[in-house]
């Protein structure tokens, strides 16, 4: 069966659902963050597939931007997690129940 746009989109959708599963079910902050990265990667794959099959390079430029923004977001998010860990000594979501530092 010839591989077309639909195949790539189905893979992207399934990957996105897996990342969403990680964010919803897992309790460790770092693994939740990894689920977020998985969702971003799924969106990237869908953008590159559309860019290829619609003869438009804008999708690939957008993926370039998304990778950069994801790198910046990971840096800031991990700095937050480190600061939180210093205060509360835990990286488990069920322990972090109050907004007060």
């Amino acid at each position: 069966m010839n591989v077309g746009l639909q195949h790539y989109l189905i893979v992207s959708g399934l990957l996105f659902s897996l990342g969403l599963l990680g964010v919803v079910v897992r309790r460790n902050l770092i693994v939740i963050f990894m689920g977020l990265e998985l969702m971003l990667n799924a969106a990237n794959l869908s953008l590159v597939a559309f860019s290829r099959y619609n003869a438009n390079l804008d999708g690939q430029v957008m993926v370039f931007f998304i990778i950069t923004v994801a790198a910046a977001e990971v840096a800031v998010g991990l700095a937050l997690i480190v600061a939180l860990y210093r205060k509360r000594q835990t990286a488990h979501v069920e322990d972090l129940t109050t907004l007060k530092l």
Binding site: L18, A70, V74, V82
Partner: protein
């Protein structure tokens, strides 16, 4: 006889989904380092898919930046926090069940939409775009120059924010 590129697509897609599943559901060990390693493998499989889509520069950037810098940062932080094996807290099966059900519903909606979609006429196949570096550079520095410059400011802001957040006393 299916084409070789089709076989490669199924191989890379299957690997990406398998490693993504192993990242999220970590049956091997309760260590987050194992999840990070599986995420690196997922990212590399996705780079293979980008090469199949003729996005060569993006595949290289993906491996260099995502797998080579972002995941290394993840591993640094995991080892800095010294998160040993996750405590064996009982995962409430109600949360697991409802969460999996909701995600399965979303996955079902997405996959059924993509299966039923009728792509445009096959004339699109004749003008597939090649994502080589020269064309991408032209697009990036002519049409998308303003977002490119704004991104550099964003990176600077992120760096300043990280330095500020990692001070000993957040006063």
């Amino acid at each position: 006889m299916p084409q070789f590129t089709d076989l490669l697509f199924y191989a890379f897609a299957g690997l990406a989904l398998l490693f993504g599943f192993l990242t999220v559901v970590n049956p091997v060990s309760r260590n987050p380092v194992t999840s990070a390693m599986f995420l690196v493998l997922t990212i590399i499989s996705l780079a293979g898919l980008y090469v199949l889509l003729h996005a060569f520069f993006l595949a290289a950037v993906q491996v260099l930046v995502y797998a080579g810098a972002v995941m290394v940062l993840f591993l640094f932080v995991i080892m800095l926090l010294d998160l040993k094996e996750e405590e064996r807290r009982k995962l409430k099966s109600a949360i697991l069940g409802i969460g999996s059900l909701a995600v399965a519903a979303i996955a079902g909606i997405l996959v059924s939409t993509f299966v039923k979609a009728k792509p445009a006429a096959s004339a699109v196949q004749s003008r597939l775009v090649e994502g080589d570096t020269a064309k991408l550079g032209e697009a990036l520095f002519n049409h998308w120059l303003l977002p490119f410059e704004i991104l550099s400011i964003l990176l600077l802001v992120a760096m300043v924010g990280v330095i500020l957040l990692s001070k000993k006393d957040l006063k």
